[in-house]
Amino acid sequence: MKVAVCVKQVPDTWAEKRLRAEDSLLDRESADGVMNELDEYAVEQALQIVEAAGGEVVVVSMGPERAAETVRKALSMGADSGIHVVDDALRGSDAIATATALAAALKGRDFDLIVFGSESTDARMSVVPAMVAEILGIAQLTFAQKVLVDGSAVTIERVTDYGFDTVTASTPAVISVVEKINEPRYPSFKGIMAAKKKPVETIGLAELSLDPGVVGSRASWSVVADFSARPAKAAGVVVSDAGDGGVKIADFLAEQKFI
């Protein structure tokens, strides 16, 4: 089984994130880059699938030069090889442009499964896996809390508001996994040493035969038009209970659109 796992480098989850004044893009230089947390679950899932069924795991990442660190991290967890898609023209890509580039990188490589985390902590759109599946014309099994692979049949438990649906597809397919699907392993010291020697293919738009016009900020369907700082924290509201405390709290939550 040949499994791809797509990972994204994001600013450290705990760092304060800033948008750049000049182009409203996320300032990726101001914080340390880390592997998107949910992608660690995706890597773990891909490794577990291959450990059970045999085969290889290829880590795929689109991102600037330093996203190579994130590819390396997945390799040190145990992935076999890497593909790093890096090109200045990709800067500012929205979800559709990202999916276009990733699909181009994944196409024609005979992957049986393509595993994603279900969202990134910086953009939080949760749509790229579905878009990639759509572009490649293969099945999508998203928001998986459990994955079972049996030959060419892949079954997942898809998380829903009311519990889960059981969904089956045949390979090739795209899977996105939710948090807590597994316990991502730490890279071991041996893994870190071995990762240095694993092959990573670094490719740009030319190698993907992609027209720079279909990716990057200019090709993006969505752009950040404007942004403003989060308003300062207002003083809290004290609800005094005169027998109607519960109702008042419910009203407050409804007003804030929490319920």
């Binding site: 730490y186 071991s188 010291f189 870190i192």
Partner: protein, 391 residues
């Protein structure tokens, strides 16, 4: 506040001294400590209990056990990454670092350096995996700084050996599967691999400790323990054996103590920025800033020293008196930082809600074990004058 605060190590740009791979190793151990040790260690410390078996396996899976040794399932890392791993472990707790140091740098190192091929194959892979736990028995109740006077003895009985005596303050003692025991023989001091389930072997917990409570400390008693001929480590006779093991572990402590100090200082800086008295953060008072500046410089210098000694070790030129410089200085600096930061936290500084008093109490042991501060001072004194003052 006008500027965002800098980490003390950023003052020194410590990261610029480390390779990508060294940083990757550091980060993995830090993540492990953050998720596995930090959330639990205050409770382990309070209860005086360590889930050592599970932890040993997790450390083994990571590659921490005997990580600087080559072959036999060990990770084969060089000196600086080994030090950085100890630093991160000890930023969690000196007790956890002690467990790993004793396993890798004392017990495994002894077998790796002085054992036969059969002994290495029999013990090292299981120890590297964390499935087998080792301890190292050198100190006796009456012979601490002066181990050459030890009373434990091994006498030939046919081909076998009969081991008698006792050891004191032995880390991992009651949980160990094997003990490396140093004992007097007719030829001089020799090391033995002693499986702890042999008849005549007992280990008793040292109770009522106020330091290294998240670590097992034990007395070992040998009452006519019969050992086969091949239990002896063939590669060394004399005190040089245990002392070279100690040199390995002491090297780890040079980094480890920086970790404990760093954790105290980070805690105190955060606390001082948050905590307001007389209408402003206590970090805004010059007295506090003086303390933070002094400690950051001490800690940064300790880290530079550690990395420098690490590079010497990697080059194969590190001498024992240089290890003494590092152990003496860094254990002292870390203990001073723990005490000073304890004060910065005021009343909160005395509870296990914050790591400081735990580090402070732990560092009292670290100050004493692996050669007391005084002994290292005298080693340096001897190097400087040619005169040994400790005899």
């Amino acid at each position: 506040m006008s500027k965002s605060p800098q980490h003390p190590f950023a003052l020194y740009n410590i990261d610029s001294l480390l390779s990508e791979e060294e940083k990757a190793i550091r980060d993995v151990v830090r993540t492990f400590v953050d998720s596995t040790i930090r959330p639990n260690v205050a409770e382990w410390f309070e209860k005086g209990h360590l889930p050592a078996r599970d932890l040993a396996k997790e450390c083994g899976a990571l590659g921490l056990m005997g990580m600087h040794l080559e072959g036999y399932g060990c990770a084969g890392m060089s000196a600086v990454p080994y030090g950085l791993a100890d630093l991160e472990l000890e930023a969690g707790d000196s007790g956890i670092r002690s467990m790993v140091s004793v396993q890798g740098s004392l017990a495994m190192y002894a077998i790796h350096a002085f054992g036969s091929e059969e002994q290495k194959n029999a013990w090292l892979p299981g120890m590297a995996a964390g499935d087998l736990i080792g301890c190292f028995g050198l100190t006796e109740a009456d012979y601490g700084s002066n181990p050459s006077g030890m009373r434990s003895s091994a006498k030939r009985d046919g081909d076998d050996w009969l081991l008698n005596g006792s050891k004191m303050w032995i880390t991992n003692g009651t949980i160990a599967d094997l003990a490396i025991v140093w004992a007097q023989t007719d030829d001089g001091i020799r090391g033995f691999i002693v499986p702890t389930d042999l008849p005549g072997f007992t280990a008793n917990d040292v109770k009522h400790k106020m330091s290294l409570r998240a670590s097992v400390t034990a007395e070992l008693v040998f009452d006519n323990v019969r050992l086969p001929a091949d239990a002896v480590l063939p590669g060394v006779v004399g005190l040089r054996g245990p002392l070279s093991c100690l040199n390995e572990a002491r090297f780890g402590i040079i980094f480890g103590t920086v970790g404990a100090g760093r954790d105290c200082l980070e805690t105190a800086i955060d606390y001082a920025i948050d905590r307001e008295q007389f209408g402003k953060p206590i970090a805004a008072y010059q007295l506090t800033q003086r303390k933070l500046a002094d400690m950051s410089v001490d800690l940064g210098n300790a880290m530079l020293l550690a990395i420098h000694l690490g590079r010497l070790k990697e080059a194969g030129t590190l001498r024992p008196e240089q290890v003494s410089v590092g152990k003496m200085n860094n254990a002292r600096i870390a203990l001073e930082i723990a005490r000073e930061t304890r004060g910065i936290l005021g009343g909160n500084g005395i509870t296990l809600e914050y790591p400081i008093i735990r580090h402070m109490n732990n560092l009292e042991s670290v100050y004493t074990y692996e050669g007391t501060n005084e002994m290292h001072t005298l080693v340096i004194g001897e190097a400087l004058t040619g005169i040994a003052a400790f005899r």
